[in-house]
C-alpha cells in the first residue's frame, strides 16, 4: 500500500487542474463533485497506509524522481511514509475531507464556487507534499505551497480591501519565516552534506552545539512564521477575513500546525541544541499566555478562535521545547479535531446569522441551532481540558512534561496552567455569549435564523465524536491507559528527553505529583468555566465594571497590545520611506552622475568645436567655412559625437599600451 503513497497528493492536484481549467466555463457549481471526491479518494489511500504502518509495520522512503542537483547537492522528489507522516496524513485527509463536505453547504451560491474548491484542493495537495516529503526541500515546497493557498484563500473575497490586505500580510510575514527556514536548509546542507531526513538525522549527532543551535534557530524562525508564534503571529488573526471553512482547515487544523510538525520532524537536530530547545519552549509558553489574554476580551467570534489557535499552537511548541515531541503531535491531532469543529461551528452560527460575527449581537442561539450548539459545547469542553474529552489528555500531558521533563521548568508549567485557565474562560465566555442568555439578535437576522443544512451538521457531528474519543489514544499510564500514540510515534520521535513515560507506573517517585497536577489542571479549567458563568450569565454587568475599573489593562487587551500599530510605525512605514528616498537617490544621484557625464562630454565637444572654429578659421578661410558647416552639423548631432570621442580616446590609449607592450 505504501508504495502508492504518490496517489494521495495526485488526486487533489488532478482535481485542481480540471476544476481550474474548466471550472469557470463548464463545471461552475458542480465543482464540489471532483473536489470532495478527490480528497475522499486520498483519504481512502491514507487510511490504507495508516493501517499498514500502524499494524503491519509498513512504510518506507519512496523516491519519485531526481529534482535539483548540482555538484554535491542532490535532492529528490520523494515521499516518506513513517508513523509521524501517517498520523499527519490521517489528520490532513480526515479533517480536510470533512471540511470539504462542509464547504459544499457553506459556500453554496458563492460567485467563486469553483475557484474556492480549486484553491482548497491545491491546499490539500501542498499540505500533503509538506507532510510526505522525505527531505527538507520537498517540505519547503509544500510549505510555500500552503502559504500560497493561504494567501489566495484569505484574499478569496478580494473585492474587500481588508481581505486582500490580510492575504498580502500573511504571505509577507510568512516569507520572513521562510527566509529563516531557507537559511536553515543551507546550513544543513553545508554541514551535513545532504537534505534528506535520513542523511540529516543519521549524522546529526556529529554536529557541534553551536552549529546545531544555528540550524535549529533558523528552522524555528520558519516555524514561528507558519505557526503564528510571537512575534510573527500578527497575520493569523487577520487571516480570519477568509471564508470560515478556510479558517477551520488552514488556519486551525492543518497549515498552522506545519511548524510544529517541522520541529517535531527535526527532533534529532533540536535535541542537539539546548539553547534552541529553551527558545522553543519559552516562545511557545509566552505565545500561549499572550494570545490567550487577548482572547479574553475579543467580541468577534472568529477572532476569539483565532487567538485561541495562536495560544494552542504555543502549547504545542511548549511541548516540543521541553522534549515532549510526541505530546506536541498528540495535541496537534486533538486540536485539529476540536478547533476545526469550533471554526465550523462558528461558521454555522455565522451562516445562520446571515453573516453576523459580533457576539454582542448574538445570544440564546441554542434554541435555534441545537446541533451546532451541542457540537460546539463538546468542542469547548474538549479545549477547556475536562476529562475524558480529547483536549484534556493532550494538554495535561504537555503541562506534566513542562513540569517534569529534564528540559522543563516549573515556570513553564505555571504559564501553561494560567493560560489553560484563560482558555477555559474565554471559550466558555464565547459559548455563553453566543448560545445562552437573552437573544440580542437584530430583527432582520432573527427572521432568517436557522439551523444549517445536513451537509454542514454531519461533519460537525463527526468532529464532535472525534473531539471526545480522539484523546483516548493517549491515555496516560497513570490513568490505566497505555499511551498508544507515544509508542506509535517512538520510532520517529524517540523517547529522548521526555520524563519517563508519563507517570511510569505507580511506583514512580513523582506519581503523587502527577495525580496532583492532573487534578489541579482540571480544577483550573472548571474555575475558568465557572468564572465565565458568573460574569456572563449570572451577573452580565460585571465585565463592563471590570473594564471600567482597569481601563489600562482593558485597553491593552482589546487593542491587542498595539502590536500591529508598533509594527506599522516602526517597521512598515520606515521601509516605505526608505524605498521612496532610495528612489530619489537613484533618480537624482546615480542617474544624475550618468547624465552629468553625458553633459560634460557634450560641453567638451562643444568647446572643442568652438576652439577649432576660432583657431583654424583665422588661418584658412576655406577650411573655416567647412568647419562652420561641420560645427552646425555637430551641434545638431551633438549626442552622436560622444562615441567618436570615446573611441578616439581609447584607440589612443590602446596604441600607446600596445607600443609599450610590443616594444
Amino acid at each position: 500500500m505504501s508504495q502508492y503513497v504518490w496517489l494521495i497528493p495526485l488526486f487533489p492536484i488532478l482535481a485542481v487542474l480540471i476544476n481550474g481549467l474548466f471550472g469557470r466555463k463548464y463545471i461552475r457549481d458542480k465543482a464540489h463533485y471532483l473536489a470532495v471526491g478527490s480528497v475522499g479518494l486520498s483519504l481512502l489511500v491514507a487510511i490504507g497506509i495508516f493501517i499498514e504502518v500502524a499494524f503491519l509495520g509498513g512504510g518506507g522512503d519512496y523516491i519519485l524522481y531526481p529534482w535539483i542537483f548540482s555538484g554535491q547537492l542532490s535532492v529528490n522528489v520523494g515521499f516518506l511514509v513513517d508513523p509521524l507522516s501517517a498520523i499527519m496524513l490521517m489528520v490532513v485527509c480526515g479533517v480536510g475531507f470533512l471540511i470539504h463536505v462542509y464547504s459544499v453547504g457553506y459556500m453554496h451560491g458563492d460567485g467563486g464556487y469553483y475557484r474556492f474548491f480549486t484553491y482548497l484542493n491545491l491546499f490539500m495537495f501542498s499540505m500533503l507534499i509538506l507532510v510526505l516529503g522525505d527531505n527538507y526541500l520537498v517540505m519547503f515546497v509544500g510549505w510555500e505551497g500552503v502559504g500560497l493557498c493561504s494567501y489566495l484563500l484569505i484574499g478569496f473575497w478580494f473585492e474587500k480591501r481588508s481581505a486582500a490586505d490580510a492575504g498580502k500580510k500573511a504571505f509577507i510575514v510568512n516569507r520572513i519565516g521562510d527566509a529563516g527556514f531557507l537559511l536553515g536548509i543551507f546550513l544543513i546542507f553545508a554541514h551535513l552534506g545532504g537534505l534528506d531526513y535520513h542523511t540529516v538525522f543519521a549524522n546529526a549527532h556529529n554536529l557541534s552545539t553551536g552549529v546545531a543551535t544555528a540550524i535549529t534557530l533558523c528552522l524555528f524562525l520558519g516555524a514561528m512564521g507558519k505557526s503564528a508564534q510571537l512575534p510573527l503571529y500578527v497575520w493569523l488573526p487577520d487571516a480570519m477575513e477568509g471564508p470560515t471553512p478556510v479558517s477551520a482547515l488552514i488556519h486551525a487544523a492543518t497549515m498552522v500546525t506545519a511548524g510544529v510538525y517541522m520541529v517535531a520532524r527535526s527532533n534529532a537536530l533540536f535535541m542537539m541544541a539546548p539553547v534552541s530547545m529553551a527558545t522553543v519552549a519559552l516562545v511557545g509558553a509566552a505565545t500561549a499566555i499572550f494570545a490567550a489574554s487577548i482572547g479574553l476580551v475579543q467580541n468577534d467570534i472568529k477572532r476569539v478562535l483565532a487567538y485561541s489557535t495562536v495560544s494552542q499552537l504555543g502549547y504545542m511548541f511548549l511541548a516540543c521545547g521541553v522534549g515532549a515531541f510526541a505530546a506536541g503531535i498528540f495535541h496537534l491531532m486533538t486540536h485539529a479535531f476540536f478547533k476545526a469543529l469550533l471554526f465550523l461551528g462558528s461558521g454555522s452560527v455565522i451562516h445562520g446569522m446571515s453573516g453576523e460575527q459580533d457576539m454582542r449581537k448574538m445570544g440564546g442561539l441554542r434554541r435555534h441551532m441545537p446541533i451546532t450548539f451541542l457540537t460546539f459545547a463538546v468542542a469547548t469542553i474538549a479545549i477547556a481540558g475536562i476529562p475524558p474529552f480529547a483536549g484534556f489528555f493532550s494538554k495535561d500531558e504537555i503541562l506534566w512534561q513542562a513540569f517534569s521533563s529534564p528540559h522543563g521548568h516549573i515556570g513553564l508549567w505555571l504559564i501553561g496552567a494560567v493560560a489553560a485557565g484563560m482558555t477555559a474562560f474565554y471559550m466558555s465566555r464565547l459559548v455563553f455569549m453566543t448560545f445562552f442568555g437573552e437573544s440580542r439578535v437584530d430583527e432582520h437576522a432573527a427572521h432568517h435564523l436557522h439551523e444549517s443544512p445536513r451537509n454542514m451538521t454531519v461533519p460537525l457531528s463527526i468532529l464532535a465524536v472525534l473531539s471526545v474519543v480522539g484523546g483516548w489514544v493517549g491515555i496516560p499510564q497513570a490513568l490505566g491507559g497505555s499511551n498508544r500514540i507515544h509508542a506509535f510515534l517512538a520510532p520517529v520521535l524517540g523517547g529522548h528527553g521526555e520524563a519517563a513515560a508519563h507517570g511510569a507506573v505507580v511506583h514512580h517517585p513523582s506519581a503523587v505529583a502527577e495525580y496532583g497536577l492532573m487534578l489541579l489542571s482540571v480544577a483550573i479549567a472548571l474555575g475558568g468555566i465557572g468564572l465565565a458563568y458568573q460574569m456572563y450569565l449570572r451577573r452580565p454587568e460585571l465585565p463592563a465594571r471590570l473594564a471600567q475599573r482597569f481601563p489600562g489593562v482593558y485597553a491593552a487587551l482589546s487593542n491587542k497590545y498595539w502590536v500591529d500599530e508598533v509594527y506599522l510605525y516602526f517597521i512598515v512605514n520606515p521601509i516605505k520611506r526608505l524605498t521612496r528616498s532610495l528612489w530619489k537617490f537613484d533618480a537624482n544621484l546615480v542617474d544624475g552622475a550618468v547624465n552629468g557625464a553625458g553633459w560634460l562630454t557634450l560641453w567638451n565637444s562643444f568647446t572643442s568645436g568652438r576652439f577649432d572654429l576660432s583657431a583654424v578659421d583665422g588661418a584658412v578661410n576655406g577650411v573655416g567655412t567647412l568647419i562652420t558647416a561641420g560645427g552646425k552639423a555637430f551641434r545638431r548631432l551633438h549626442t552622436g559625437l560622444v562615441q567618436n570621442y570615446a573611441l578616439a580616446m581609447f584607440l589612443g590609449i590602446f596604441v600607446l599600451v600596445s607600443i609599450y607592450w610590443l616594444s
Partner: protein, 576 residues
C-alpha cells in the same frame, strides 16, 4: 581545454543567419502596404528559426563540456580572424531562450505596432541574428561584431517605436552600452596581443586565448576591470543600472521583452564566458567586490522597485534585483552557485519577459502604465489574472515554478562561499514578494474604481498562444529541471575547476605561418551516419583540436582532481 566538435550540418550558422535572411527578404521583397505579409512573414521566420534550433537540444551531448556544433572558416587570415561558432552547456540554453523569445516578441507586436511595420520587423529580425551570434561566437572578433550589431536595431526599436522620452532613453542606452563595449574592445585587443606575444600565434580564438594564455595577476586585474565595465553596464549591476529603467519604460513591449529576456543576459554571459575562465585569479580576488555590488543590487533594486508608480519601471528595477541574484551565484564560484546563476538567467528571461508581455497587454488596452489607473481587474479579466498570477509567483520564486530552483541553487552556492552573502541575499526574497504582491493587489484586487477598466477585454487567442509556452517552461523548470541542469552540468563543473585551479595549455612558440593551416582542422563527426544512432556517443576520444600534440595536456592538476577539495569546499569534513 575544451575541444571543438563539429556536426554534420552547419546548424548554428543557419539558426543565426536565418533571421538576417528574413530581414533582407522583408526589406527588399515586400511592400509597405503588405502589412499582413510582413507580420506573418516575420513570425513564420522567427518560428522556423525556433524549430531549427530544436535539434540543437536533441543532438546536444550533455555529458561533455566541449563546444559542439562547431564551425570554423577562415575569415581575415592576415590578423587571425576566423569565423568560429560553437556552443557548450553555458550557451545552449541562452540560444534556445533567444529563439523562443524572439518568436514571441514578433507575435506580441502584431497589434501594438501600427507604424513603419516593415522597418520594425526588419529590426527585430536583425536583433535576433545579433543576439544569437553573440552567444555562438567563439572568436573574439566575431563576438564583438555581433555584440555591436545588436545595439543598432535595439536603438531604433526604442527610439522609433517607443513611448515617453524615447529619444533620450534610446541614446542613453546606446551610449552607455557603447562606452562599456569600447573598454571591452580594449581588453580584447590586449588579450590578442598578449596571446600573440606568448605563443606567436595571431588569433582571436576565444578557446585558445582562454586556455593558453597565462596572465600575471596584476594584468588580470586590469583586464578584468576592462571587461567588467562592459558587462556590468549590460547586466546591469548597481551603480551602472540607470539606463535600464529608462530603456525598459520607453521601449515597445517587444523591445522590453527582448531587452529583459536576452540582452541583459549578454552581460552575465560575458562574465561567465570571459571574466571567470580568462581571469581566474582576478575573479577570485574580486569576489568580495562583485558580491558586494550584487547584494546591493538585490536589496536596492527591490527597495526602489517598491516605490515605483509605473508598472514597467517597477519590473525594470525588479530586474536589477534579479540580476543581482544571478551575479551573486556566478561569483559564489562553486557548482551550485554558477549552475543556479545560469538557470536563473533563463528563468529571469522567462518570468520578466512574461511580465513585460503582461504589461504590454494592459498597455495596449488602456495606454497607461500607471498602477493607480488600474485596480479590481480580476473580475473583468479572469484569464489574464491567472496568467499574471502564475508569472508573478514565478518571479517571486515560489517552489514548483522555475524561479525557485534558480534562486535556491544561487543561495545555497552563496551560502557555501560565505553565510553572510546568503543572509543578505535572502532578505531580497522577502522584499521581492512584497513589491510583487503589492503590485498585484493594486492592479487586480478590490473593486473596479476606474470606469475606464469596466470594459477591459480579456486575453485574446493570440495573447494566450504566446503566453502558454512561457508558462509551460515555468512549470517544467520548476518541477523537473533535470534536463536543464544536465545540459549545463559538465560545463559548470569544468568552469569551477578552471577558476579554482587554472591550468594552461603548454604551447611551443611558433612562427605566424602555422596559423592559416589550422583553420578547418575541426574534428568531423558524422551526425546522422553514426551506426549507433546516437550521434552524441560518437564524440569521445576526439583528438585535441589545437595545440602541439607532443605537448603534455595537463587538464586537471593533481591538486584539483576530485572536486570537493577546494573546488566546492563544501564537504561536511571540510566545513567543520
Amino acid at each position: 581545454m575544451p575541444k571543438l566538435i563539429e556536426f554534420s550540418a552547419p546548424i548554428l550558422t543557419i539558426t543565426c543567419f536565418l533571421p538576417l535572411l528574413g530581414a533582407f527578404w522583408i526589406a527588399l521583397f515586400t511592400k509597405k502596404e503588405q502589412e499582413k505579409l510582413i507580420k506573418y512573414g516575420a513570425f513564420v521566420i522567427s518560428l522556423v528559426d525556433f524549430v531549427i534550433s530544436l535539434p540543437l537540444v536533441y543532438y546536444f551531448d550533455p555529458s561533455t563540456h566541449n563546444f559542439q556544433f562547431a564551425e570554423r572558416y577562415s575569415w581575415i587570415p592576415s590578423i587571425g580572424v576566423t569565423y568560429l561558432m560553437g556552443i557548450d552547456g553555458i550557451s545552449i540554453l541562452l540560444v534556445m531562450l533567444t529563439t523562443l523569445l524572439s518568436a514571441i516578441a514578433v507575435l506580441c507586436s502584431f497589434a501594438a505596432i501600427t507604424e513603419r511595420l516593415k522597418e520594425y520587423y526588419v529590426c527585430l529580425l536583425l536583433l535576433e541574428t545579433g543576439m544569437l551570434g553573440t552567444f555562438m561566437a567563439l572568436d573574439f572578433f566575431l563576438f564583438y561584431v555581433f555584440w555591436e550589431i545588436m545595439l543598432v536595431p535595439m536603438y531604433f526599436l526604442i527610439g522609433v517605436w517607443g513611448g515617453g522620452r524615447k529619444l533620450y532613453s534610446a541614446i542613453k542606452f546606446f551610449l552607455y552600452t557603447l562606452f562599456g563595449s569600447v573598454l571591452m574592445l580594449l581588453g580584447i585587443l590586449s588579450l590578442y596581443f598578449l596571446h600573440f606575444q606568448a605563443t606567436g600565434d595571431l588569433t582571436f580564438d576565444i578557446v585558445k586565448i582562454t586556455y593558453q594564455l597565462q596572465i600575471s595577476r596584476d594584468v588580470q586585474f586590469w583586464l578584468f576591470l576592462a571587461f567588467f565595465i562592459g558587462f556590468a553596464i549590460k547586466v546591469p549591476m548597481f551603480p551602472f543600472h540607470t539606463w535600464l529603467p529608462d530603456a525598459h519604460t520607453d521601449a515597445p513591449t517587444a523591445g522590453s521583452v527582448i531587452l529583459a529576456g536576452v540582452l541583459l543576459k549578454m552581460g552575465t554571459y560575458g562574465f561567465i564566458r570571459f571574466n571567470l575562465p580568462i581571469f581566474p585569479e582576478a575573479s577570485k580576488m574580486l569576489v568580495p567586490f562583485m558580491v558586494l555590488l550584487s547584494v546591493i543590487g538585490i536589496i536596492y533594486g527591490a527597495l526602489v522597485a517598491m516605490a515605483q508608480q509605473d508598472i514597467k519601471r517597477l519590473v525594470a528595477y525588479s530586474s536589477v534585483s534579479h540580476l543581482g541574484f544571478v551575479m551573486l551565484g556566478l561569483f559564489a564560484l562553486n557548482p551550485q552557485g554558477i549552475a543556479g546563476g545560469l538557470l536563473q538567467m533563463i528563468n529571469h528571461g522567462l518570468s520578466t519577459g512574461a511580465l513585460f508581455l503582461i504589461v504590454g497587454m494592459v498597455y495596449e488596452r488602456r495606454h497607461t502604465r500607471m498602477i493607480s489607473e488600474y485596480g479590481g481587474l480580476s473580475h473583468q479579466v479572469p484569464v489574464f489574472t491567472v496568467i499574471f498570477a502564475i508569472t508573478m509567483f514565478s518571479s517571486i520564486g515560489l517552489p514548483g515554478l522555475n524561479g525557485f530552483v534558480g534562486e535556491f541553487l544561487i543561495l545555497i552556492g552563496a551560502f557555501q562561499a560565505s553565510w553572510l552573502y546568503a543572509l543578505f541575499a535572502v532578505s531580497g526574497i522577502v522584499l521581492g514578494a512584497a513589491y510583487m504582491l503589492w503590485l498585484f493587489q493594486r492592479m487586480m484586487f478590490g473593486q473596479i474604481t476606474n470606469p475606464a477598466n469596466r470594459n477591459l477585454a480579456d486575453c485574446n487567442l493570440r495573447e494566450v498562444v504566446y503566453m502558454v509556452p512561457i508558462l509551460i517552461f515555468m512549470f517544467w523548470i520548476g518541477l523537473y529541471p533535470k534536463p536543464y541542469l544536465d545540459m549545463m552540468g559538465p560545463t559548470v563543473e569544468k568552469l569551477v575547476e578552471r577558476v579554482n585551479h587554472p591550468t594552461y595549455q603548454a604551447v611551443a612558440k611558433k612562427s605566424q605561418g602555422t596559423e592559416q593551416g589550422r583553420a578547418g582542422t575541426v574534428q568531423r563527426v558524422a551526425g546522422k551516419a553514426n551506426p549507433e544512432g546516437t550521434p552524441m556517443r560518437a564524440k569521445v576520444n576526439s583528438p585535441q583540436l589545437s595545440g602541439d600534440p607532443a605537448a603534455p595536456l595537463p587538464q586537471v592538476s593533481p591538486a584539483s582532481a576530485g572536486h570537493g577539495n577546494g573546488a566546492t569546499g563544501s564537504t561536511p569534513e571540510g566545513r567543520r
